[in-house]
Amino acid sequence: MIDYFFGLPSLVQGLAKGVAVILIIFPVAAACSMAERKVCAWIQCRPGPNRALPPVLAWIPGIWILQRIGLFQLMADGGKFLFKEEPLPDHVHKLYYVLAPVVAMVPAFTTVTVVPFGAYLRPGGGVIPIMLANVDVGILAVFAVASLGIYSLILAGWASNSKYPFLGGVRASAQLISYELSMTLAVLPVFLWVNEPGSAGSLSLARVVEFQSKPGFWGGTWFVFTMPLSALIFAVALFAETNRQPFDMPESEADLVGGFHTEYGAFKWSLFFVAEYANMIVGSAVFALLFLGGWNLLPWLPLAELLGKLHHLTGSEVWLHPLVAGLLSIAIFVVKILATIFVFMWVRWTVPRFRYDQVMKLGWQKLLPLSIANLIAYTVGIYFLQQ
């Protein structure tokens, strides 16, 4: 089976891997919307959606747990979005109106290609990251492609040909431009540190995790400890980039009805939603890779060392099998992503939306100077450290 897979042309292999990742990301992104409703409900002292249950499944013992966590509600919602009528208002620019949700999905899924989501140990030693494309552009590709996602919002806002979506689109573009700068500047110190003098330069995300997996005190430290300000700026900019509250400007349902997706309904609308959550997943993954040590369980405890310890403790050879290592690393990484996404939701139901001028002020007058100062300070520091 594995030999057959590696015997296939690389294009087919890549396609198969890509489809597999999309097949996982899409339902996970959809499940995130249910998670959001549940987290919201629990924070507001409500049980949340807990009623839907297909009568044919009611006899299964213990199925009520799935019913209580709203799994069937999620399926019912998904089915509803698939089968309900697709409204196409008369006043919209038809081509761009239909194109916008598709444009939203493409960057959301494309960024996954350069994000590693696990690692396995080579029998001879050494950690191989599991990712679709281990290219040197890494983080640059994520930023470049992720910022394309804004076109869908602008396109949707403009093609809807009505006031509220238009304002939503305008806000989205202004906000994205404002926070893109600080976000990029905030991660630069990480890559300055990772690309030590003498080593081949790389912006790959896998490289950052490798750096955080090094032995020794400084090697095993996650960047969130050594660069807390970078992590903070990146996190705030991430909230803004993914249009999450408190930076919910493009949508701002209180003043813009639904913002850019006011005129959308049915499946097209749900595509926007899935894209938003897919963006969140990728954003959380990048945050976990850059600042939270990727697939390492704890700071100063890299994956290889963890597996070695498990092997030592249990005396079982199974821990050294590449498959076990790969699955364990993916599990650790996924838990980190989910925890980050939970923080996203937690903040959303805690902090009220900023006013638009506050968003602009925070972006241009606070975060940008802060990230530039941060970059300069770390550049000088890293220069002396790596001399």
């Binding site: 409900a41 629990w42 805690t350």
Partner: protein
């Protein structure tokens, strides 16, 4: 009046970052996150009905199982939305309610009109109509939402009676005494 100057302290640097406030808010929300839900999951859990609750209006019988309503129609006249419609009738022979002269032939309350004001209960001289604890009325048609006499008695049941006023009157008549 004394003027009290209020000192307006400017925000400290930490406060201006807004981060401690966000952390405080998140602490509050996480407590709610793990706290119990305030929701009453309705069809399974029912709310406790307090005394004096004004639910669906019903007709009640006295402890002897006799119809109390004498179809005086006061409730029909007082009803602000005109939800009550009474057809008065004479007391049927052998119904065991010969202490009174009249009884309703038909007694309909249109629950689509009723506003649960309780004026019928207040005005009733016979203490025959009560707004009791039933709060959920539903039906598939307009006709179903009209409570007829038998349904009203079924909902109302029997309530204790302190006076038995017609029995007292009848006993007084029999013994040749004065009416109350």
């Amino acid at each position: 009046m004394a003027v009290i100057p209020v000192k307006r302290r400017s925000l400290t640097l930490v406060e201006r970052t807004y981060l401690p406030q966000i952390a405080g808010g998140m602490w509050t929300t996480i407590k709610h996150f793990f706290g119990p839900a305030d929701t009453l999951e309705y069809p399974e859990q029912r709310p406790a009905i307090p005394p004096g609750y004004r639910g669906v209006p019903t007709l009640v019988k006295d402890p002897n199982g006799r119809e109390k309503c004498v179809s005086c129609q006061l409730c029909e006249f007082v009803c602000p939305p005109k939800a009550i419609r009474i057809t008065p009738g004479s007391v049927p022979e052998g119904a065991g309610i010969d202490q009174v002269e009249k009884a309703p032939q038909a007694f309909d309350i249109d629950m689509l009109r009723c506003i649960y004001c309780g004026l019928c209960e207040e005005v009733c001289p016979e203490e025959a109509i009560f707004l009791q604890k039933q709060y959920s009325m539903s039906g598939y048609s307009r006709a179903e939402m009209v409570n007829h006499k038998d349904r009203l008695y079924e909902l109302g049941g029997t309530l204790p009676d302190k006076h038995f006023k017609w029995d007292v009157k009848k006993a007084a008549e029999k013994s040749g005494g004065e009416h109350h």
